[in-house]
C-alpha cells in the first residue's frame, strides 16, 4: 500500500495534545464527529493517528471502523484552525490523502459509490437527471453562455440546481446581479458538478475530469469571473482548480464577495427596511478555507432595519453545518445532529432567522429543523439582500 507524503510527513507530528477539540479561549466543542461520538478515533488527533497506524501497517483500509472514522469528518477545517503544533494546516490534508488511499484500495463507502456513479451518469453527485439542471432559472431570461459570450458566469452547482425548496438563493442572487447591470450568463443544462465532492471523498480522477471540463467551458465562454453561491464549489474552484494542469482565464468569486463589491461601488442600493433579527453562520469553505468573514457581515449590516447578532462560535471558530465532504450522504443522522447543534446556538442569540451563504448549509439546516421540530427561519444571504431592494 502506497502511503502518500502528506500522511508520512504530518500524521506522526500530532502529539494528541487535544487542543483541537475545543475553540481556544472559548472552550466550546470544535470537531462535530468528535463531539458526537466522543471516542478518540473520531477526533482530528485520532484521524491523524489512524494515518500513522496505516503507515505502520497495524491498521487497514478494509476495516469498517477505520472507514467510519475517516469518513465522518466533514472537512470543516476547525482542527486546522485550532491546532498550534506542526500538524496545523495539514490535518484535513492528511484526512483527504487517507481518503485517496481508500479509493485506491477500492474500499469506498456504498453511499459514496452512488455519488461517483451519479457523477459519471448525470454530471452531479445527487443522482438527479441531467436534463433537470438549469430549471431553477426558468422565467428569468438569463444569457446562455454555451451560445453567447458573457463577462461573468454564474455557476449554480449541484445542490442549488436540483432542490426547488432552496432555489430562492440562486434566483435572488442572479436578480441582484441583473439589478446591478452585470453582464452575466449561466450554462443551464450544460453546467456540471464542480468535482469538489469527488475530491473530498478521495476520487482524484473524477475531480480532475470536472475541473478540466469547467476550466475549458468557462475559458471558452470568455468569462473574466465565475460567481458561485455555493461556498463549497467556490472554494474548490478557487483553491483546487489552480492545481490542475489547465490555465484558468477567469477569477472565482463567491456571491458575497461580489455583492459586497457591488454595494461598495454603489451598484446595489438597499432601500427597503428589513426588520429582522438574524444571526449569520459562516460556511466552513467560505470562512476557514478562504478567510471570508467580513463581507457577509458588511452586507447584512448595510441592510436598513436589520439587526445582526453573533453566535458565540463565529468566524474562524464557527461550528460546521454537518453537510460537507460526503457526510450528509453517508451519515445522514450525524449530519443532522451537527446542524441541530448549530440551530440551538443560533436560537440562543434570540435571532428569528439563521442566515448562511451556502446551499449545503441551508439544506442541512432546513432538514434538521424538520427532523428535530425546531422553529427558526433559514435564509441564504442573497434572499435577505433581495428583500432590501
Amino acid at each position: 500500500m502506497e502511503v502518500p507524503d502528506e500522511v508520512k510527513d504530518w500524521a506522526a507530528r500530532c502529539s494528541r495534545c487535544g487542543t483541537c477539540k475545543y475553540t481556544f479561549g472559548q472552550y466550546l466543542p470544535s470537531c462535530p464527529p468528535g463531539q458526537k461520538f466522543r471516542l478518540e478515533g473520531y477526533f482530528p488527533s485520532g484521524r491523524l493517528w489512524i494515518g500513522r497506524g496505516l503507515q505502520e501497517g497495524v491498521l487497514s483500509l478494509e476495516d469498517e471502523d477505520v472507514l467510519e472514522r475517516i469518513y465522518t469528518c466533514t472537512a470543516c477545517k476547525a482542527c486546522d484552525e485550532q491546532c498550534a503544533s506542526l500538524p496545523k494546516e495539514h490535518i484535513v490534508e492528511v484526512i483527504e490523502a487517507i481518503r485517496q488511499m481508500v479509493v485506491g484500495a477500492g474500499c469506498l463507502l456504498p453511499a459514496h459509490v452512488v455519488m461517483i456513479e451519479s457523477l459519471k451518469k448525470n454530471d452531479n453527485v445527487l443522482d438527479k437527471p441531467k436534463e433537470e439542471r438549469g430549471a431553477w432559472a426558468e422565467g428569468l431570461r438569463l444569457k446562455d453562455i454555451t451560445k453567447e459570450k458573457a463577462d461573468v458566469v454564474y455557476h449554480a452547482g449541484d445542490m442549488l440546481s436540483f432542490d426547488p425548496e432552496i432555489w430562492g438563493a440562486a434566483r435572488d442572487a442572479v436578480t441582484l446581479l441583473q439589478q446591478a447591470g452585470v453582464d452575466f450568463g449561466i450554462a443551464g443544462k450544460e453546467e456540471t458538478c464542480c468535482g469538489g465532492r469527488a475530491y473530498e471523498i478521495g476520487n482524484m480522477a473524477e475531480f480532475t475530469k470536472y475541473a478540466e471540463h469547467n476550466i475549458e467551458a468557462y475559458n471558452g465562454a470568455g468569462a473574466s469571473k465565475v460567481i458561485l453561491s455555493c461556498a463549497d464549489g467556490y472554494s474548490h474552484m478557487k483553491l483546487l482548480y489552480p492545481k490542475v494542469n489547465a490555465k484558468m482565464n477567469f477569477e472565482v468569486l463567491h456571491i458575497v464577495e461580489y455583492i459586497d463589491q457591488l454595494i461598495k461601488e454603489g451598484k446595489i442600493k438597499f432601500t427597503k427596511e428589513v426588520p429582522m433579527k438574524v444571526t449569520y453562520h459562516d460556511p466552513c469553505h467560505l470562512g476557514r478555507y478562504n478567510g471570508i468573514y467580513e463581507q457577509p457581515r458588511d452586507i447584512l449590516n448595510s441592510i436598513p432595519g436589520l439587526e445582526l447578532v453573533e453566535m458565540e462560535r463565529n468566524r474562524e471558530f464557527s461550528w460546521c453545518c454537518g453537510a460537507g465532504a460526503g457526510v450528509k450522504q453517508a451519515y445522514p443522522d450525524f449530519s443532522l445532529w451537527t446542524a441541530n447543534e448549530r440551530i440551538q446556538e443560533a436560537k440562543a442569540t434570540g435571532a428569528t432567522a439563521l442566515v448562511t451563504s451556502c446551499p449545503w448549509c441551508e439544506r442541512n439546516f432546513k432538514d434538521a429543523i424538520k427532523e428535530y421540530g425546531e422553529k427558526i427561519e433559514v435564509y441564504d444571504i442573497a434572499e435577505i439582500a433581495r428583500k432590501a431592494i
Partner: protein
C-alpha cells in the same frame, strides 16, 4: 483475553455504559495504545467511556470479578506513558464526566469531575467568577484539572503555593472493588473545605497514577486573582548567577512566578525543529521568566524595586538584560509538544544541586545530539524545585526515538544521583525507584495497593505493583 470471555465482557460493558460508549474497534484501541512519549505502545482490549459514578462502579466491579486491568485516562497528556495499558484490558476514558459540581466562592473551592479541563475551568471562572483563578499549568488546555492535581503537578502559582496536590480539599473515589468513598471534610460534613483535621488518607490515592482507584470528584482550591500583575523576562549569561538569583528570590515572596529555561528552549518553540542550534556569540544562556502580583500599584512598584535591586546585586559580575514582558496567560496552546513526540525527565528535588545537575544534563543532551531544552522552577518559596530537561522529538524517526530512549535511561540515573525524584514517572522509572528505594517503603506501597486493589486491576505496573 480469550475470545469467549472477551465477548461476554463486551456484552456486560455495553449493558453498563451503553453500546455507544464501548469500543473494541482497532482505530480506537490504537489511539489509546501509546502517547506522545517514547514509551513502548501496548494495546487495550476495550475503550470504555462511563458517564456517571454508578457506571464507573459497574465497570470496576466487572473488571475486579474478571481480573481485567483498568487504566483511567482523560487527556493522556501526562508525559509519562501513564495511560498506556501495560497489560491490556480496559482504558477507562473519563472525558464524558466533565461537570463542575459546585463552586463555593466563599471558601474558594470547586468540586470537579475528572473530565473537567483547564480550558473548561478558565471559561467558567472568567464568565462567572472573574475574581478567582487557579494555579494553571503549562499543559495543553484540554487536560484534566483532577489528573494534574492527583499527579502532583504544578502551575503558575507554584513558586509561592507549591504543588496542586497540596491544594486538594477532598476526593470521592470508586475503589477497585466498587465501593464509593469520600475523603476529607466532605466525609464528615457537607463542606469540602479541606483535608484536615483528619487522618489524611487522600495519600492512598494522590501520586499513585490511578493505581489505587478511580477518583470521580475532586475539590480544588481557587485563589483570588491579583489586581495588578507585571512580567519581566531576564536574559542571563551565567548559570551560577542565574540559580543564585532564583534561590535568593524564591523565599522572599516577591515573585509570584519564576521559571528558568535554557535559551535553546525558545529556539525549539519558535523554529519548531530540534536544531542542531549553534549558540551565537553574545547569545544568552537562560531566560528567566518572572511575574509580580499585587493588590495596589504601590505594592507592585515596591516589589518591582526590590526585584530590580536584587537583579543588580546578583548579576553584578555578569551580563544581564531585563525586559518587560506580558505574564503568561494560561492555558496556552501549542508548546513544546509541537513536534509530535515529547518526553521529559521531570523531577522534584533540592535546588542546591541544580548547577551540577544542569551542567551534567547539558553534557548528556549534547552526547545524544538533543537540544538543551528544559524548565526549572523553585516551588513553595524554594523548599524544593522542579528540575525538568524536556525532549521534543519526531516520533516517526526510529533513530531519534532510540536516542531519546537512551538519553532518558542515563538521565534517570543522573537525576536520582542528584537526589531528585521523578514525577509522573513511567513504569521503568518506578521500577528503578522501587529497586533503589527503602525496602520497607516498597513493601508498604505493595501492602497499601493490595489492600485497596486485591486483584491488581488498577493501572497495573505502576507504584505498588506486586513483584513479578
Amino acid at each position: 483475553m480469550e475470545l469467549k470471555v472477551k465477548e461476554k465482557v463486551l456484552a456486560e460493558l455495553e449493558k453498563i455504559v451503553g453500546a455507544d460508549f464501548v469500543s473494541k474497534a482497532l482505530p480506537d484501541l490504537y489511539s489509546y495504545s501509546q502517547d506522545m512519549t517514547e514509551n513502548e505502545p501496548s494495546w487495550p482490549d476495550f475503550v470504555v467511556m462511563p458517564g456517571s459514578v454508578e457506571e464507573v462502579q459497574g465497570v470496576l466491579r466487572l473488571a475486579n470479578r474478571e481480573k481485567i486491568p483498568v487504566v483511567p485516562i482523560v487527556g493522556g497528556a501526562n508525559i509519562g506513558g501513564l495511560t498506556i495499558p501495560l497489560k491490556g484490558g480496559i482504558c477507562l476514558d473519563l472525558k464524558r464526566m466533565d461537570r463542575l459540581i459546585e463552586l463555593n466562592d466563599k471558601e474558594m473551592y470547586a468540586i470537579l469531575e475528572p473530565g473537567f479541563t483547564f480550558g473548561h475551568l478558565r471559561r467558567y471562572l472568567d464568565k462567572n467568577y472573574p475574581h478567582l483563578t487557579y494555579s494553571y499549568p503549562l499543559s495543553p488546555p484540554y487536560t484534566s484539572v483532577m489528573c494534574n492535581a492527583m499527579l502532583m503537578g504544578m502551575g503558575d502559582m507554584a513558586v509561592s503555593l507549591g504543588m496542586n496536590a497540596d491544594m486538594i480539599n477532598g476526593l470521592e473515589v470508586v475503589l477497585p472493588t466498587g465501593e464509593v468513598v469520600k475523603i476529607g471534610s466532605c466525609s464528615v460534613s457537607r463542606s469540602w473545605f479541606g483535608r484536615a483535621p483528619l487522618p489524611d488518607i487522600a495519600g492512598m490515592f494522590i501520586g499513585w497514577q490511578g493505581a489505587t482507584g478511580v477518583v470521580t470528584k475532586i475539590a480544588v482550591q481557587l485563589w483570588q486573582k491579583p489586581k495588578y500583575v507585571e512580567g519581566a523576562t531576564i536574559m542571563t549569561y551565567d548559570m551560577g548567577a542565574t540559580f543564585r538569583f532564583m534561590r535568593r528570590m524564591a523565599p522572599m515572596r516577591i515573585l509570584d512566578e519564576l521559571f528558568i529555561v535554557p535559551y535553546e528552549t525558545m529556539k525549539v518553540i519558535t523554529t519548531k525543529t530540534t536544531g542542531p542550534f549553534e549558540r551565537a556569540p553574545g547569545e544568552p544562556e537562560f531566560a528567566v521568566l518572572t511575574a509580580i502580583a499585587a493588590n495596589s500599584e504601590d505594592e507592585l512598584k515596591a516589589k518591582a524595586q526590590l526585584r530590580d535591586a536584587i537583579i543588580k546585586e546578583e548579576f553584578k559580575d555578569t551580563k544581564v538584560d531585563v525586559m518587560p514582558s506580558e505574564p503568561t496567560d494560561l492555558p496556552i496552546r501549542g508548546q513544546i509538544d509541537a513536534l509530535g513526540g515529547c518526553t521529559w525527565m521531570g523531577t522534584y528535588g533540592p535546588t542546591s544541586r541544580w548547577e551540577e545537575a544542569t551542567e551534567k544534563v547539558f553534557q548528556l543532551l549534547d552526547k545524544y545530539k538533543l537540544p538543551r531544552v528544559g524548565f526549572f522552577r523553585p516551588l513553595r518559596q524554594g523548599h524544593f524545585g522542579m528540575w525538568r530537561p524536556i525532549i521534543a522529538f519526531n516520533k516517526s524517526d526510529a533513530e531519534e526515538v532510540d536516542r531519546v530512549r537512551k538519553f532518558m535511561r542515563e538521565a534517570l540515573t543522573l537525576a536520582l544521583d542528584m537526589d531528585h525524584v521523578p514525577y509522573k514517572a513511567p513504569y521503568w522509572e518506578v521500577q528503578e525507584m522501587m529497586k533503589r528505594g527503602d525496602p520497607n517503603w516498597v513493601e508498604l506501597l505493595r501492602r497499601v495497593k493490595k489492600m485497596l486493589d486485591p486483584n491488581n486491576i488498577m493501572n497495573p505496573g505502576r507504584y505498588g505493583a506486586p513483584e513479578e
